[in-house]
């Protein structure tokens, strides 16, 4: 690490933390990491801690760093608490809950100097692993649970709840909040509820009796989360599809996108089931106003979406990088035949299988130009689950307005982690923008319908739907076609259509979400980012400002780029582009499509697969400024 960067980051962290200091302790400003073995039920305990902090009104984030495996491999969960709302991943852990013997050495090494480590001292810890600058808190979790629970399954599961109890005591988690959460989760299952309550108490009491609780860093009730909800991006995406009126979905299971469709399915079962009082005896008394096809592969998944879009339904698919690779040919088909389609890409680390449970933003260039031939697509980049909801609705409107595929580029961090975001809102006056679709009345009034003729000011031509009127019949084809929809190999007729497609793409720029721009007086540089990088980048900008480097901020939310994107870059001699990939894909896209002079843009690239921290961003910017 660069010396300047390290020192500066440390100082600024102290500055930021100072605001939360009460007496000798630090209130509502710390980070903990929990090291577990996957498949042992630890996720429930970890979410319990995170959710309890949220319920206490304290800004909190939780990041699940999990393996691509079902059982037995190391998994970590990180919780960051920050009164000011800086919730990017912190890599300075005040408390480590070390529950995985396989990773003891690495976990112990990661604790901040002066920090604490909680471990299961049912078995002795190798003295060689001890650190003088870390306080070791041994809790005999296995022994406590073995004494009180009989089944081995219960002993494993309840050990997690027991450490949650100990953590609660150490951090001053409100016991009433915890009790309330357990009641909500297990209320109807008395035996399970009692087991959880007991385990929680075992850990809590042991910590209270044996350690000085709470630790110097701990929680105090606040009201900072009163208007927030805790939601993961994949749930919010599914909600968006539900609210936008999607009726058909095609998909193939893939990490980290699977929970988009799992959630959509659950939501539909809850909100899209219509009672049918006239059902004959023996027939189901309801009908499902949706159809989800779990396809045989991603080719089929997108094929289903395109077919449904052609026939007039709002349809979508959700996938991740490998699936998007397979969908390329069909994306070209939808682009060229001008059929609306919505594709959610919850990005993970590539290339190839890559790291399925790690995050990257490395599908940007593929998505922008997916398929062979000249193609350009509409992309939306949500920055958090709230925008996943909002952009899904926008995606369907854009897809139908512009008769083209729209890709929503979320990522694993947004999609699978719970984020504290403002409550989602819905305008009941909303009506879907179905774009230019002609019905029998309009067709009757025109001499002759041609699918790709009569463009509007956006370059969009009217379409018709199968099953409505013979006068609107046309032949959709992925082969070369002319303005009238006929097959062509004529250079002029071919170019006329593909040129209009380009003009349509350009026109869409004004309809994409504007970038988020935050300016500061006396800023000397710009920092541009996208998606889930926002928390780390905004915190980094604050740290840099405290050091005298003032920067303006821009988060890009759509492609083609809105006008403001180019003007932001024109207004800064130097911009850093922060993104989660090796090759600077967003930076390249800005150079190609927003005509940004290459010398004005520098990359900050974090691509190891974990969510970025502010320190990583500060370090890379500081290094380059110093150079």
């Amino acid at each position: 690490m660069n010396r300047l960067g390290a020192a500066a980051a440390g100082e600024d962290r102290a500055t930021i933390r100072a605001e939360g200091v009460v007496g000798r302790g630090r209130v509502n400003d710390f980070a903990i990491k929990l090291a577990n073995v996957n498949g042992t039920g630890s996720a429930t305990a970890n979410s319990l801690i995170m959710q309890a902090i949220f319920r206490m009104g304290v800004p909190v984030s939780g990041k699940n760093l999990f393996p691509s495996n079902i059982q037995g491999l190391p998994t970590w969960y990180e919780i960051r608490v920050n009164a000011k709302g800086h919730l990017a991943r912190s890599r300075e852990y005040d408390l480590m809950v070390a529950m995985n013997g396989q990773t003891y050495a690495a976990d112990i090494a990661e604790v901040s100097s002066g920090g604490y480590l909680l471990f299961d001292d049912s078995w002795a810890l190798d003295p060689g692993l001890r650190r003088a600058d870390v306080t070791f808190l041994g809790v005999p979790l296995a022994r406590l649970c073995s004494d009180r629970f009989s089944s081995s399954r219960e002993r494993i599961l309840m050990k997690n709840v027991a450490y949650a109890g100990a953590v609660a005591a150490l951090l001053a988690l409100d016991p009433e909040v915890l009790a309330g959460l357990l009641q909500e989760s297990y209320g109807s299952r008395q035996r399970l509820l009692e087991a959880n309550q007991l385990a929680l108490r075992l850990g809590h009491d042991y910590a209270t009796q044996n350690f000085s609780c709470p630790l110097p860093f701990h929680l105090e009730r606040s009201n900072r989360t009163d208007d927030l909800i805790l939601i993961d991006g994949n749930t919010a995406t599914a909600l968006g599809a539900l609210y936008a009126g999607a009726t058909v979905a095609g998909w193939y299971p893939i990490t980290p996108a699977t929970s988009v469709m799992d959630n959509f399915s659950h939501l539909c079962a809850r909100y899209r089931r219509e009672a049918n009082p006239e059902a004959a005896p023996g027939d189901p008394p309801f009908s499902n106003n949706y159809l989800i096809v779990q396809a045989e592969d991603e080719l089929a998944a997108l094929g289903v979406v395109i077919g449904a879009g052609w026939a007039g339904a709002r349809a979508f698919t959700s996938t991740s990088g490998p699936g998007l690779s397979l969908m390329n040919e069909l994306l070209g088909l939808a682009y060229y035949t001008e059929i609306p389609a919505v594709v959610v890409d919850v990005q993970r680390a590539g290339p190839s299988t890559g790291m399925p449970t790690r995050v990257q933003q490395a599908d940007i260039l593929m998505a922008a130009y997916a398929s062979h031939g000249d193609t350009k697509h509409l992309l939306l980049f949500p920055g958090d689950p709230g925008e996943c909801f909002e952009f899904m609705v926008a995606a369907f409107d854009l897809a139908e307005r512009f008769q083209t595929p729209v890709m929503v580029l979320s990522d694993l961090d947004i999609g699978m982690n719970d984020w504290a975001v403002p409550r989602l809102s819905w305008d009941d006056a909303y009506q879907p923008d179905r774009g230019r679709v002609l019905g029998p009345r309009e067709l009757e009034a025109m001499p002759q319908f041609h699918r790709y003729d009569d463009q509007d000011e956006l370059g969009v031509t009217a379409r018709t739907l199968p099953g409505t009127d013979s006068r609107g019949a046309y032949f959709a084809r992925g082969s070369g076609h002319d303005r009238l929809g006929g097959y062509t190999e004529n250079e002029v007729s071919y170019q006329e259509v593909v040129d209009r497609l380009l003009s349509k793409h350009r026109a869409a720029a004004a309809h994409m979400p504007r970038p988020v721009i935050e300016t500061a007086a006396a800023a000397t540089l710009g920092v541009i980012t996208v998606g889930s990088c926002e928390p780390a980048v905004k915190e980094a900008i604050e740290i840099l400002a405290a050091r005298g480097t003032v920067a303006d901020y821009m988060r890009i939310r759509g492609f083609p780029f809105a006008e403001e994107v180019a003007s932001f870059m024109e207004g800064h001699e130097l911009c850093f582009v922060v993104e989660l990939n090796r090759d600077g894909q967003l930076r390249s896209l800005l150079e190609i499509e927003a005509r940004a002079p290459a010398q004005r843009l520098r990359s900050v690239l974090i691509y190891g697969g974990l969510p970025p921290s502010a320190e990583q961003v500060v370090e890379q910017i500081a290094n380059q400024l110093e150079a």
């Binding site: 609210y243 009726t247 089929a300 339904a313 040919e329």
Partner: protein, 351 residues
């Protein structure tokens, strides 16, 4: 694919169907396939089947993939919406179109390359889903547009025009369909329109996935001595043991059937399919028996044509999904969006 507008030659008086439409109302553009191509005969049979079924042209959705066969939707039903998609993916596009609007009459036209090589997986799963559509494979054992490579349906020992022998086992779509739980399996020959038209009518009327494998010789690349998909070979080896009559809902039974040997199956809409001159003991609803019969005949080098298997009892994709009787695409938005109050209460659970 190129097509030329057909000149309208009035041939009065033209017969009219129940909708008052003539055969011309189901025609398409002029074919640009080779003279004598089996595919054109299938197109003609389809036009006749649509006409006889009195299908409203605007309710037909015709789909295809890529290849010679996939060009043909341009040559029939120009008053219907058509979709010439990408190689191998027609089944998926049709699945989506059917999912969006179950009232459409979906007719997919594909070939042996499109369905049995690049699109085999998608075909298999459309069969499993029992998507309500007629799926035609215009099977000639050869890649025509790329000039004569063997396809996955080429028989072992079958020779190419250049003289190479195919050494790989063929994919037989009927056997495939039997193993996948297909609900309608038929084989026809493009040179036998009289047999093909009732099969196509039954395929369209079938509720579920109707797979029709039609041997359709390629006059350019696979109609020579040594080919097993040539006109000559088919004339010598076709076994028309299973004759099929399709009797629409309102049609009278006509013709003289060998009633003592006929088997009848009633379709979901009340139409009937009559199997006649059926080999003794042949039960078109018995998957195992049909498979054994076909294996035995294939072993003798015979190609059995006719409606070979039919199961009207299975649910189609929409019935399995419990969707409403009309198209999902036709649902009003008010039935789809839960509204702001529901969103509020949903979020109360996210605290």
């Amino acid at each position: 694919m190129p097509s030329i507008t057909k000149p309208l030659i009035p041939l009065l008086p033209l017969a009219r169907n129940e909708l008052g439409l003539t055969m011309q109302d189901y025609q398409g553009g002029m074919s640009t396939l080779c003279a004598g191509c089996g595919h054109d005969s299938i197109t003609a049979a389809l036009i006749q089947a649509f006409f006889e079924l009195s299908l409203p042209p605007h309710m037909i959705a015709k789909l295809s993939g890529i290849g010679c066969s996939s060009k043909t939707p341009a040559y029939f039903a120009s008053r219907a919406h058509g979709f010439n998609s990408v190689h191998g993916r027609m089944a998926t596009i049709a699945t989506g179109a059917g999912a969006a609007n179950r009232e459409l009459t979906l007719v997919g036209v594909s070939g042996d390359g499109d369905s049995l090589s690049i699109g085999l997986g998608n075909l298999a799963h459309a069969i499993r889903r029992n998507v309500n559509m007629a799926y035609l494979i215009e099977n000639n054992g050869v890649y025509g547009l790329t000039k004569g490579q063997f396809s996955a349906s080429a028989d072992v020992g079958s020779r190419s025009r250049r003289g190479d022998s195919n050494l790989l086992q063929p994919v037989d779509p009927i056997m495939l369909g039997l193993s996948l739980g297909a609900t309608f399996l038929a084989r026809g020959f493009s040179g036998d329109k009289a047999q093909l038209v009732p099969i196509l009518k039954a395929a369209v009327a079938h509720r579920g996935f109707a797979l029709v494998d039609i041997i359709s010789p390629c006059v350019q690349f696979n109609d020579h001595e040594g080919s097993t998909k040539s006109y000559r070979y088919m004339r010598d080896h076709e076994l028309r043991e299973i004759e099929t009559d399709f009797i629409g809902q309102h049609e009278e039974i006509v013709g003289s059937l060998a009633r003592d040997r006929a088997t009848a199956v009633t379709m979901h809409d009340g139409a009937r399919v009559q199997f006649r001159t059926v080999p003794e003991g042949y039960d078109p609803k018995d998957r195992g028996q049909v498979e054994a019969y076909l294996r035995e005949r294939t072993g003798r080098g015979e190609i059995v044509t006719g409606l070979l298997f039919l199961d009207e009892s299975q649910q189609d994709m929409h019935e399995t999904a419990l969707t409403p009787p009309n198209g999902l695409a036709q649902l009003p938005f008010s039935k789809l969006c839960p509204g702001s109050a529901e969103l509020e209460s949903f979020q109360d659970g996210l605290r």
